[in-house]
Amino acid sequence: MEYFLQQLINGLTLGSIYGLIAIGYTMVYGIIGMINFAHGDIFMIGSFISLAVFLILTSILGFAFLPVVLLIVLIIAMLFTAAWGWSVERIAYRPLRGSFRLAPLITAIGMSIVLQNFVQITQGARVKPLPPQVQGGITLIPASELTGGINVQLSYMQILIIVTTVVLMVGFTLLITRTPLGRAQRACEQDRKMAALLGVDVDRTISLAFVMGAALAAVAGCMFLLLYGVIDFYIGFLAGIKAFTAAVLGGIGSLPGAMLGGLLIGLIEVFWSAYFTVEYKDVAAFSILAIVLIFLPSGLLGKPEVEKV
């Protein structure tokens, strides 16, 4: 039971990270109906920017107070990663609007390769280990005879991740439901042509979807860096596929669905590793992706897609 509880906490933490990435997929899919294949690499970019900013602040500028450092890291990473998201859309997807359906997917794959190799060339292929920065935690159930010597712990890092995710999600939901910007997003999602006729700047709205998705992916990248302490140029591929699985599982196009899917994928992955085999945890995620797409294409919270002729 205690082991289960500990894994539950770990799963929710990992799931929050997946959920944050999944939002980027689901927003872009909701508006332009394409898989932004490079989104996983945007997450990786966010992670690398976080690392660079963190090192600059601590070792060059000599900041020592961790909360302020982390806040600055988050903000700068969000801004710069958002710029990356905007540029990717501008270069690889916007010129292809109205082209045949596979074209943007192919440029997305190309963009993903470009981003990975750009980072590999400029930052090196070796992994970047960062020692744990946020240490300690709260012991929920101390180890004893009853629990079989297992300490159920909620580390400060996990609290930080979950709180940040909740705050961002609340803010983001308010942004989408209460502001003119969110209204434009939802309008474009329902009918792009009609929205354009009613005076919504569709290109700008699509760009903003990429920008917001990239900013959230940057937060996920920063959290990933702090949680695992190891990043390399290839982390975006797996994380991207898993987050995409999360978006599909929750129902692509649905924001609460993305978060729910993220949490589920995180839990499944952690429990699979804990109770079955670690080696096949990626196979579990891939299989869920295939099964959901084949048998439940609209996901848990999504609307069924009507095929138009």
């Binding site: 394409m34 270069i91 930052q123 596929i241 196979v283 891939f286 992706l289 797409l293």
Partner: protein, 465 residues
């Protein structure tokens, strides 16, 4: 890709020229600023592992150089390349594809390529006696990718099913041959080849069946997942596949039972010619040449058959296809199976050429390279695949020989590491510039003679609904 397209004030021509330059300059400045922002933490700083954690160092000169290069490049592009189609957006291809401008080019190229490919090993041996092995090796590599490209072209180019897990079938072919030959003494390359093809085709059916209902990008992502599942299983199933250690000691192909080795009963002694290790490479080259040729001929023949027409119809419009009574299930499955079969053949060949295989050789990036070759060659075009394979694979090999670049960029400069970056860039640029392929385009074999007002590549499919 113009960052902004402003309207020009109508007026004197000189004024317009001037404003054009100002506009180009402004655009280049914006591009340079953006490049500066984007590359700030990547080129401007570099994190490295140092004793006691990570260290970060500044690289201002590299960063400023990058920004200046972007500025100058963008300015020149604006002035001399984009200049003529200033107000036009870059989505509409202006010039007709190469093949349309020179109608007979494709036919002549094909013949020239064929003859050249046929005599290539002897040309290499005659003109470059010292480096013949290297040249033939590269030719074999290119030919393998041509064959893989042709195999994938059936699935992606003809049937329009974007398969991102094609390398799985390549892996199935390679592992089938490797396992069969290491477990059963009597199975050689030529016995295993059809078996490997059949197994790969079987896997094509197995993986194709569940994804029949999926379309477009969902199909792509599921095939990607399948490809990765196969790789992870190969990696972790130690008892059967050897896990990350792979399988070694895979037998070499024989020429009607004659081995390419020294001594009695070998190819050299049977024909009474002096033994040379190059014979085996020439032989390997002709095997892959033959296999690729078979792929091409089968594809060309299939394209003229009802099934080929059905593939093309499926690519153009699935709903129309179904309403006209084409069995889309069987059409898709045959495309998957036949494409997979050729992937399996190529895989077997890969295994016998290398003598050693491991899951390392079958990563997603391999699928992406094959897809890039098909896309850049023009979806569905056969000769395009050849040209794209030569340019991309041969270009990579050529990068290895660009030693003089180290004089410009310093001794640590290794052109090969830019290979995948260039691949990716080429994929993006070609798709943006000419979405239907760089070399040629493949129109449906049969079509109504009546011209549509909107081209096939602009029909509503692309709206994303």
């Amino acid at each position: 890709m113009a960052v902004s397209s402003a309207k020009f004030p109508s007026g004197a021509k000189g004024h317009q020229e001037e404003s054009k330059f100002a506009h180009a300059l402004r655009d280049a400045l914006i591009a340079a600023f953006l490049a500066g922002v984007l590359s700030f933490f990547f080129i401007g700083f570099r994190t490295d592992i140092a004793p006691g954690g990570l260290s970060v160092r500044m690289r201002w000169t590299a960063w400023i150089t990058a920004v200046v290069i972007v500025f100058v490049g963008r300015l020149l592009l604006n002035l001399f390349v984009f200049g003529r189609s200033w107000s036009g957006s870059s989505t509409k291809p202006k010039s007709a594809p190469l093949a349309e401008r020179l109608p007979d080019l494709g036919k002549w190229l094909l013949r020239a390529f064929f003859v050249f490919a046929l005599v290539l090993p002897f040309v290499a041996m005659y003109f470059f006696p010292g480096r013949d092995r290297q040249f033939i090796d590269i030719a074999i590599l290119i030919m393998t990718y041509v064959m893989l490209g042709w195999g994938l072209n059936i699935v992606v180019g003809l049937a329009g099913l974007l398969d991102l897990g094609y390398v799985a079938f390549y892996a199935v072919g390679a592992y089938s041959f490797a396992l069969l030959s290491t477990h059963f003494e009597f199975i050689g390359f030529w016995t295993a080849l059809p078996l490997a093809g059949m197994l790969a085709a079987g896997w094509g059916l197995v993986l194709g069946f569940p994804v029949l209902r999926l379309r477009g990008d969902y199909l792509a992502i599921v095939t990607l997942a399948f490809g990765e599942i196969i790789r992870v299983v190969l990696l972790n199933w130690y008892d059967f596949t050897g896990g990350p250690n792979g399988i070694s000691g895979i037998p070499k192909p024989t020429f009607f039972g004659l081995e390419f080795a020294r001594g009695e009963g070998s190819f050299a002694s049977f024909f009474g010619i002096p033994y040379s290790p190059i014979h085996r490479f020439v032989y390997l080259y002709y095997i892959i040449f033959l296999l690729a040729l078979i792929t091409n001929i089968v594809t060309m023949r299939l394209r003229a058959l009802p099934i080929g027409r059905a593939w093309e119809a499926l690519r153009e419009d699935e709903i129309a296809c179904r309403s006209l009574g084409i069995n889309t299930r069987n059409t898709k499955l045959t495309a998957f199976a036949i494409g997979a079969m050729f992937g399996g053949f190529a895989g077997s060949f890969f295994a016998t050429r290398q003598g050693f295989i491991s899951p390392e050789s079958f990563t997603f990036i391999e699928s992406a390279i094959i897809l890039a070759i098909v896309v850049l060659g023009g979806l569905g075009s056969q000769i395009g695949v050849v040209i794209a394979a030569i340019v991309m694979i041969g270009g990579t090999e050529a990068l290895r020989n660009l030693g003089f670049l180290t004089y410009i960029f310093g001794p640590g400069f290794d052109p090969v590491q830019y290979r995948m970056l260039l691949f990716g860039l080429a994929m993006v640029i070609i798709m943006v510039w000419k979405p239907r392929g760089f070399v040629t385009t493949r129109e449906p074999t049969v079509a109504l003679k009546e011209k549509k007002r909107i081209g096939a590549d602009l029909v509503a499919q692309g709206e994303g609904h």
